[in-house]
């Protein structure tokens, strides 16, 4: 299963993606699914086993985010 990390804006999402890339955390940048938000921007989908490390690395870097949606079918 995959979780989705939602951000306030695409800049935060891009920041997270750059950090995940550096730290080899598996992720995928996707459009915000319609039922989760009305925005044209991005969010990040991660395998649920990666959600913990992903959030930890965001916290350590100081990257703000909106929320996490668990087990989202895409």
């Amino acid at each position: 299963m995959r979780d989705i990390i939602l951000f306030h804006n695409s800049s935060e999402a891009i920041w997270a993606s750059r950090v995940f890339r550096k730290q080899s955390i598996d992720y995928k940048m996707i459009s915000v699914p319609r039922h989760l938000g009305s925005d044209c921007g991005y969010c990040i989908s991660v395998p649920d086993s990666n959600t913990g490390p992903a959030l930890e690395s965001m916290k350590n870097t100081g990257i703000p985010f909106d929320r996490v949606e668990k087990n989202v079918a895409l």
Binding site: N9, S11, C40
Partner: protein, 383 residues
């Protein structure tokens, strides 16, 4: 087009080659609007923009790259900072060597009775000067870090420390100093920094940035422009979060790609004081070369300098001198008031102004020698 370019304080030229490569790469190979959809191109564009935010944050000692906001130029950054941070009835303080991009918004606010304004009419301001004008309603102190007329650098540490103690917001106009003088927004107690992207940072013309200190409460700071941000689109209100609060509409991505390349070039090729040392070496060489010319006046002071020199030759207007240098010797400088009448009033060179040479990274000793020879010939021809 050949010739000698000594107008780097207006905008730097030439740019490092990587700047044009980066601009063209975005236009030809990426092209999409950043932050507006999750297609590959849009993500790549956002990545370039974010990389530039990181480079800016690193350059000025910020922790949070989201606090690096893109603007049209330094003027736009200063207007955003000034108009966003003041409220009716506030007292605002500024220096004596300010550019019109600070003086005009302040003057407009004062003449409409919105703010009280104190201008400290000095070339170098001391803490005593600042103390003498601080009042109970003093809200903001805006200061030009380096004069675009003389290149003189204003010492800010003690002044901004005093502002911190008095809870006065500090806005630094770093249009001339960014990229040349080392700046750390935390150590230097700068709340908001405004800069061009196209001068000492070596980005393309028509770029700029406003940086907000990590500890500054930006939520009290009102955006000058509002509009589409690609975020919170269901709401008619401007988002609170950064950078969206201050960035509405499509960004100048080619320009931002260029600033990123400029910053990367500086980071890869120069260590701390290399640039200021180079520019000042050229400046000293020029001043030494001209020191024997009869009627040559330069408006130098003993302070640190960004590699700018303003000068006059008795008997010739700066505008005519500029024309002769251009037409006969292919040397480009900038005559007149350089958009800073306040600075010329301090120097006693208002209203005719001066001829200004501002040296850049790529200027050489040979170019300076050729300029000295040209000025000697022109001075001789009018005697």
């Amino acid at each position: 087009m050949n010739g000698i370019y000594f107008d780097n304080a207006a905008t730097s030229f030439p740019k490092p080659e990587s700047v044009a490569v980066s601009v063209v790469n975005y236009i030809n190979n990426i092209g999409a609007n950043p932050g507006r959809s999750a297609n590959r191109r849009s993500i790549e564009a956002s990545d370039i923009v974010f990389e530039c935010r990181e480079l800016l944050a690193e350059k000025f000692g910020l922790k949070d790259p989201l606090r690096a906001i893109f603007t049209l130029n330094a003027t736009d950054a200063l207007n955003t900072a000034i108009l966003g941070s003041i409220s009716p009835g506030d007292h605002v303080i500024t220096g004596g060597m300010e550019h019109n991009s600070t003086m005009r918004p302040l003057n407009s606010l004062e003449s409409r009775g919105i703010i009280e304004l104190s201008v400290i009419e000095k070339r170098q301001i001391s803490t005593e000067d600042l103390m003498a004008v601080i009042k109970h309603n003093s809200k903001v102190f805006i200061l030009n870090h380096a004069s675009n007329v003389t290149g003189d650098v204003q010492k800010t540490t003690d002044l901004f420390n005093l502002c911190r103690k008095k809870k006065i917001i500090t806005i630094l106009d770093a249009a001339q100093s960014a990229g040349t003088i080392n700046i750390d927004m935390h150590k230097d107690n700068i709340d908001i920094l405004a800069t061009s992207g196209h001068k000492g940072l070596y980005g393309p013309a028509g770029t700029g940035a406003m940086l907000i200190n990590d500890s500054y409460d930006y939520e009290t700071f009102v955006p000058l422009k509002t509009g589409g941000t690609g975020s919170s689109s269901e709401s008619f209100s401007q988002p609170v979060f950064l950078p969206d609060r201050f960035e509405s509409g499509t960004l100048n991505v080619p320009g931002i790609a260029g600033i990123a390349a400029g910053l990367q070039y500086l980071k890869d090729n120069f260590s701390k004081d290399d640039i200021i040392t180079h520019k000042n070496r050229l400046r000293e060489m020029f001043l030494d070369g001209c020191s024997t010319i009869e009627g040559f006046t330069s408006y130098r002071s003993g302070t640190i300098n960004t590699g700018v020199v303003s000068f006059n030759i008795d008997g010739i207007e700066p505008s005519r001198l500029s024309m002769l240098l251009g037409d006969e010797y292919e040397i480009s400088g900038r005559p007149g008031l350089q958009c800073a009448p306040a600075a010329h009033i301090r120097l006693g060179t208002f209203p005719a102004g001066t001829m200004r040479f501002s040296f850049g990274l790529f200027n050489t000793n040979d170019e300076v020698e050729r300029a000295v020879t040209a000025i000697k010939k022109i001075a001789k021809s009018i005697r």
